[in-house]
Subunit: 489 residues, 2 copies
């Protein structure tokens, strides 16, 4: 991206001062920006109020004496031409039109209104939107939901849908995914997905790009920018409207013409974009790609405490495109030395419950087991499934917390050895049901989850999610091999 263009984008991501036009007592933008470092460079505009949240409220953006880089426009759609005219007059370079009620309604009059805005702003002010949430930038303090994390991180998001963009922030905070920028671009009358792709590809704060889109106005340019960006960093994409009914829903949502599924599949394939099929897969893969080395093959080992689930999950692994190979004879021999016989099978998955729980009297620990397994030449990555705190709780009573801390230390030391010394990916699953109301159980599961997160590991609440994320790591490794950029093998 050339310097001039980059500078234009600086107004969007790192504005020195921001005006919220149409601010009110309960608008999310004012609330969000009042809670970040942008607070002191924030100007509120609404002729209805003299003051909002202890800040002076201006009648028009023209009444503000300070220079404004970026305007957030949250007035009813029919008022946007007037407000944008004032922004241009004020010399503002970048505007985000939050307001909905344009072409996406399918109503002729509203399409004309969108055209009017387009014409009015062309070459005078750059626009993101309308019908979108705009920009979240952790570093500058731009935000669009009040309770989002302000921690900076490596994931850059470009989303055509506002609620999908919001969900990135909401779930990211819960699942330990941190963002450089989250961009919701909506109807895209000016800046569109390819523009933001171009920007994020060169953005040094962004290590992985996650896309949600429903259509494009310029397939050729999208293809070009995907190709260019994919050479620089991993791109994950979820395309909404990949079925006839979904495509109809997309058209009524963003007015997008969705194109055929085959066209999109081949676009993603040709450009080196990793296409995913659900929002959870998108989040989970982003977490893995920013928290793990890449695997050098598809052989995984699972360490679990359940024979039944290890069979089910082996099927899931294989269906996902991975392999759960047998351990080498040496691995089996070494494991047999530390795993007691009854109720355990020395195989892959390793259902090694007595050492899994670190009960006294075993000749080895879970850390030892991990170290043995990770040296197996057929094993390229590890999934450690932690579950059944209930089981320990029954036996240990008050001693649980201490025992658990010790056990977690052992597990983390084994996993760190696998990742840092041997260079193989480790995915952690700390199983927890969304509806669980056993507060003690939740407390301990979350304690284990955070311990692994502090160790820098990707943690998932279901084994299926861990497996799918690992498969996406493998896909990316394979793609790098094919493209001969870097081959981890």
């Amino acid at each position: 991206m050339n310097t001039e263009k980059m500078k234009e984008f600086e107004y969007f991501f790192y504005p020195k001062a921001v005006a919220v036009i149409g601010a009110s007592y309960d608008d999310g933008f004012s609330q969000a920006l009042m809670s970040t470092k942008m607070k002191d460079n924030l100007f509120l505009v609404n002729p209805k109020y003299e003051e909002l949240s202890g800040k002076k409220c201006y009648t028009s953006v023209l009444d503000i004496n300070d220079g404004i880089d970026y305007a957030i426009i949250a007035v009813p759609a029919p008022l946007t031409p007037k407000v944008l005219t004032e922004c241009i007059q004020k010399g503002i370079k970048a505007a985000h039109v939050f307001s909905a009620g344009f072409s996406e309604t399918g109503i002729e009059e509203r399409k004309r209104l969108e055209d009017e805005v387009k014409k009015l702003t062309k070459d005078k002010i750059r626009i993101i939107g309308p019908n979108c949430m705009g920009i979240h930038c952790s570093k500058s303090g731009l935000a669009f939901i009040p309770d989002a994390s302000t921690e900076e991180g490596p994931v850059g998001v470009i989303s055509q849908s506002g609620t999908v963009a919001e969900q990135f922030l909401t779930l990211g905070k819960i699942r330990n995914i941190k963002f450089s920028k989250v961009i919701s671009y909506g109807n895209a009358i000016d800046l569109d997905c390819p523009d933001f792709l171009e920007y994020l590809a060169d953005d040094s704060e962004t290590k992985v790009i996650a896309l949600y889109m429903e259509g494009t106005k310029d397939g050729k340019r999208l293809k070009l920018e995907l190709s260019k960006a994919a050479k620089k960093k991993p791109i994950l994409a979820l395309k909404g409207g990949m079925t006839a009914h979904g495509s109809r829903a997309a058209s009524s949502h963003t007015g997008s013409l969705a194109g055929s599924p085959e066209t999109w599949n081949s676009l993603f394939k040709q450009t080196g974009t990793l296409q995913v099929t659900s929002f959870d897969e998108l989040l989970d893969a982003a977490l893995a790609l920013t928290h793990s080395p890449l695997p050098s093959g598809k052989g995984i080992s699972m360490i679990t405490n359940s024979g039944g689930f290890s069979v089910i999950e082996t099927d899931s692994c294989v269906k996902a495109g991975l392999e759960v190979p047998q351990f080498s004879e040496e691995t089996t021999r070494e494991l047999r030395k530390i795993v007691p016989i009854a109720g355990t099978s020395i195989g892959n998955p390793l259902d090694a419950w007595p050492i899994y729980y670190n009960m006294p009297g075993n000749p080895g620990t879970l850390a030892d087991a991990i170290k043995i397994v990770i040296h197996d030449k057929n094993i390229h990555s590890l999934v450690l499934h932690f579950d059944e705190i209930n089981y320990l709780r029954r036996f240990l009573g008050d001693a649980l917390e201490g025992h658990l801390k010790e056990l977690v230390k052992l597990m983390i030391s084994g996993c760190q050895y696998a990742r840092d010394e041997i260079g193989k990916p480790v995915m952690i699953c700390v199983s927890l049901d969304a509806y669980s109301e056993d507060e003690e159980d939740r407390k301990y599961h979350l304690m284990v989850k955070k311990a692994f997160e502090n160790g820098g590991f990707p943690v998932y609440s279901s084994l299926n999610a861990s497996i799918k994320a690992l498969f996406n790591l493998y896909r990316y490794a394979e793609q790098l091999c094919k493209e001969d950029h870097i081959c981890v093998r």
Copy 2:
């Protein structure tokens, strides 16, 4: 099932007195049975103790004066022949061998031990196990985990894996699934899956049967019993070991020969068994089948508050095998009367956020919208997605709880109309992330979840789960149509 056979099973499910042989301070069976009505008919046996949990502890089962119907054997594998000989001597008719360390270890000596037990008990005492959790029966108070629900319910479970059986109970309690019987049968040296199928098919307490199996010793009999049972009630089956690696894992777990995936697929298809591919799908389908009428077609309507997610989830519906058809002109016209324009699309899915949140000033409510949609002839079922309590919280502050209660009442009245007056299935999704630590958010989500559960609706924490469950309802309806038993169309 003939009367004599039924009587044999009564000893397993409704024993008058139970002995736990190998009881100790921390064994799960004693703990579990001490917390149910079986407590007063429970006898503990272990020569090491004189008393356990305030109960007399016997040296041998032979020292008990009372009659015992059912023995739970939790001694090390090599001691089981001695203990079983005593059980036979005592005249006990039914025994559950919990002990592991038999053929499933793959060790020759342990296989011989299993054969010895088999020979010793043949025609003298009926056995469930070894290497299994045995029997949970809500009505009689039999239990194998201490914290399981003792509420009676319509789902009967047969599981080859002990941890899978435990997970049914643990997750069932969390997800509002209640059980008649949960059977974990392990190595099956005597009673096997077909025996329990035969029993549950005739059990009036059981309305739906859920199976987990890894293999069978008698494919012909399994086929026969599946066919017979499937004519009486829905059977859901998850087969572990459907891939080469999974099959190897199954063989090392239960010693099962798994058979080819094609053989199993056709077995399930021919017998009218609804095969599922994950444990969550199994649970979710069981919940739907016991909490909903059947759909008369594959057309669904989704009511959501997010355009982006409704596009993604429409794709998921179609991929799952359902349809999200356009509303009829009349439906659209009626909806337009009550749904404001900006930011909403009058289409299916219905992204009707202003009425969704029941904000003041709308000409209609969510209940009205549901009533309009459910009359559409192309719509055979409804998925209502409730999310974003966060959004309401921002606007309403302290008024949230009251507002939410009112909103839930409206939603439930609409959904009850759809289900009870019109007879169409309604699936509820109350989105919640497993790792969410926003306690207020969790509280309100769980409040909404329980309100719908109290209304008798199946509730799921993800939209994908709701869709998959609905698809399984549809599969069952289709199957009934084909078999000409009952056709809901």
